[in-house]
């Protein structure tokens, strides 16, 4: 077969390694794909340079070609990263190429991990390159809830310790202004405000996750609470609720804030009650909130059941079984 590589003098010294799908030894391959000829050729040269552990310019270009056909290939990215560092390539150039690839393949894990590997190099990026934030906003303009981009941004915050960088909160507020239902932006805000700052702890969202010796009741609570910060966040959530009362995100954000601060849901009883009166409900999430407040209060179980019944019968019929389950749990607690 005459291919792009087999006819290229630059590759004349390389003997490609064909795909061994096992059929020559009698195996019956599973999930066989009608590979395009260009892919078969490029990957046969990739195997050859990988087998020789070749760190070269031509190998680098070859990885680009394979990535364009299969961006989910799990070793080609690692191989590419190794060559980039071995040849001491300009990583900013790599990032700008990566920007184009990311905009082309919006849902891909490997691209973002590769970016993380590059930015992890303290030698190349001792401090946060501000252009990163600009590019992420470009990605969010395509899809403001892109899971990979948010996960990467979460990593950036922890790696470069950006919790208090004004840009982080500004971008979150910009995105929430555009779409107050963007739950990923709410999550990011929570991480900036309350996420664990000890980077030796797991890279996750739980406040005070602790270790196995931390009592379950203490997990999720801040050890030191800045009450002004907490009040400010609760106010922020209230304003968002007024803009879209049926939006679940700020209601659950507020629950998370209260939990982190060790303050109970009852604190919002007054605010929430304003949403629920006989014959006029302004938000079903307020009904749920009241149900949870009453469920915790001795003698108020019947009120809690009334709220849950309202959700079941009027506002949230899809979750009828769930509301029944909640009602049963209350009945058991009373009995």
């Amino acid at each position: 077969m005459e291919g792009e590589y087999s006819t290229d003098p630059e590759w004349a010294s390389v003997t490609p390694i064909d795909l061994d799908d096992g059929s020559s030894s009698g195996a019956m391959p599973l999930a066989t794909i009608a590979y395009p000829a260009e892919y078969l050729e490029a990957t046969s040269y990739l195997r050859a340079v990988m087998a020789a552990n070749e760190m070269s310019e031509r190998a680098l270009n070859l990885t680009k070609d394979v990535i364009s056909m299969n961006p989910a290939h799990y070793t080609v990215w690692i191989y590419r990263a190794k060559i980039l560092f071995a040849l001491d390539k300009d990583l900013n150039e790599e990032l700008s190429w990566l920007n184009d690839v990311s905009l082309k393949y919006l849902k891909n894990y490997q691209i973002w991990h590769h970016r993380q590997v590059l930015l992890s190099s303290k030698a190349h990026f001792p401090t946060f390159p501000p252009k990163e934030a600009d590019f992420l906003m470009e990605m969010f303009a395509q899809d403001s809830k892109n899971y990979h981009v948010w996960t990467y941004r979460h990593w950036l915050v922890r790696h470069f310790r950006l919790w208090d960088q004004p840009r982080e909160l500004e971008d979150v507020e910009f995105l929430l202004k555009a779409d107050v239902r963007n739950n990923s932006a709410w999550n990011h805000r929570y991480m900036l405000r309350f996420g664990p700052r000890d980077t030796s702890l797991p890279d996750a969202g739980m406040v005070n996750a602790g270790d196995l010796s931390t009592a379950p009741t203490e997990k999720g609570k801040l050890s030191v609470v800045d009450e002004d910060l907490v009040d400010g966040e609760l106010k922020f959530a209230q304003e968002a609720i007024l803009r879209a009362p049926e939006n679940r995100s700020p209601w659950w954000y507020a629950r998370g804030v209260l939990r982190a601060a060790g303050r109970g849901l009852a604190e919002w009883e007054g605010f929430v009650s304003g949403f629920v009166s006989e014959g006029a409900v302004k938000s079903s999430h307020a009904v749920e909130w009241l149900a949870d407040v009453f469920a915790e209060r001795a003698g108020k179980e019947a009120e809690a059941v009334r709220m849950l019944t309202m959700l079941k019968e009027k506002f949230d019929p899809i979750r009828k079984n769930y509301w029944d389950y909640r009602i049963r749990k209350l009945d058991q607690a009373v009995a």
């Binding site: 590979y35 299969n70 290939h73 070793t75 690692i78 996960t151 779409d179 797991p202 996750a204 009027k314």
Partner: protein, 404 residues
């Protein structure tokens, strides 16, 4: 679309899977080449759940498939995700082995595939594989995808790898240590700590809670629980704990009648807010929420995150997680079934991601298994953690290292 008795078109689904098994997948799957072990699992398990794997393939074919799975096994233990990284025998050395590594998800799916095909795993390099597993675990308890250059752990910090690693340990360690003397276990306590720390303020799991990862978190713990009789109860899996309550609420909240991406203007619908007047006055000034008649909603699938629309595969991720927590009864089964059968089941067989989408292997399998959880006629019962038929798990438990 308003068929009151939608049916699961068994014959068409069987045809769909047989086409995937016996003919080439279209070129568009090239970008999934490195996930062939996963695609193989979706195909084989699909036919197994449909109950036709034995009748529609010959013993020779099944042996050929088994041989291919072992063809993907590495001499040093574990499996590749696809034969594409194999340089051929004799060329592998210390300098290049990082480019042909064992892969955590691929190893798990290879083992499941072998079990589905009835293989006894006797050719699996069990000891080597279990020796490799701790090398893919990070100090914080999480798992990577593979061992890269200079023993580095490759792949993002990702709950998917945790679940597959726990699955490998479950399948290969079993209940008996025989033959495993001197093989170090993974750091189980660190692993549990990592998983528990992934629960976020709204009850879901992972940095940005998402139900595929939530499934993986709960699956990881369930795999551990299955082999350890002396493990202390885990709050996430214990009914009545705060963690478990929050998780169940989060999972139940994923069911939605929002089946497609909303029109732009609807999505951005927000009230004009005046910030004059007291908070109470402003609340009183809000419009009332209109009650929703139960008879106005016929279909409800699941989303993966808050404020997103439904997608076929989330009927599985959410449903399977609720199964592991023994709380599937909170699901609205009737509306989930109608969503799958009327909206995403495809005429040629298989399921698409959303209404009108063409079928693909992943959505076809997970849509079908969601129906299997609900006892759809003609489908075999599925183990939610293994993601394959209960038959497969019984076969696993008949293997020597499961006999305690």
């Amino acid at each position: 679309m308003t068929d009151p008795n939608p049916t699961f078109n068994t014959e068409r689904h069987v045809k769909y899977y047989l086409r995937c098994l016996k003919t080439f997948l279209p070129s568009a799957y090239t970008s999934n080449d490195s996930n062939r072990m996963l695609l193989a699992y979706l195909t084989l398990s699909g036919l197994d759940v449909l109950g036709v794997l034995q009748s529609k393939t010959t013993p020779e074919e099944r042996q050929g498939y088994i041989d291919w799975l072992y063809h993907c096994q590495l001499p040093s233990g574990g499996f590749r995700g696809f034969p594409g990284t194999d340089f051929g025998s004799g060329k592998r050395n210390k300098d290049n082995e990082a480019w042909d590594p064992a892969n955590v998800p691929a190893t798990f799916f290879a083992l499941v595939n072998l079990l589905i095909l009835g293989d006894d795993l006797s050719r699996v390099k069990r000891r080597e594989c279990l020796e490799w597993l701790p090398k893919v675990q990070r100090a914080d308890g999480s798992f990577g995808e593979l061992v890269g250059p200079e023993g580095s752990i490759g792949g993002p910090r990702d709950l998917r790898y945790c679940c597959c690693a726990a699955g490998i340990r479950y399948v290969l360690r079993g209940r008996s240590e025989t033959g495993l003397e001197g093989v170090p276990d993974i750091d189980v306590l660190g692993f549990i700590s990592f998983i528990e720390a992934c629960q976020t303020y709204d009850g879901g799991m992972a940095e940005s809670p998402f139900c595929g990862h939530t499934y993986c978190a709960v699956g990881s713990l369930d795999f551990l629980r299955r082999t350890s009789n002396d493990m202390k109860p885990l709050p996430l899996l214990s009914a009545g704990s705060n963690q478990s309550d929050a998780l169940i609420t989060w999972l139940a909240s994923r069911q939605t009648a929002q089946l497609e991406e909303p029109e732009e203007d609807e999505d951005e619908k927000q009230l004009e807010v005046t910030d004059t007047g007291s908070l109470d006055d402003r609340v009183r000034g809000l419009p009332n929420v209109q009650p929703i008649g139960a008879d106005t909603i016929s279909c409800a699938g699941f989303n993966g995150r808050c404020n997103k629309y439904a997608d076929t595969c989330y009927s599985f991720w959410n449903g399977a997680t609720l199964m592991m927590l023994d709380q599937y009864s909170v699901v609205d089964e009737v509306r989930n079934r109608r969503y799958l059968l009327e909206k995403t089941q495809h005429l040629v067989g298989g399921f698409g991601k959303g209404p009108g989408d063409p079928p693909d292997l992943l959505h076809s399998y997970f849509g079908m298994v969601s129906l299997a959880f609900q006892g759809e006629a003609g489908l075999s019962p599925v183990d939610p953690t293994m993601g394959s038929s209960e038959r497969t798990v019984r076969h696993l438990e008949s293997l020597p290292w499961w006999q305690s």
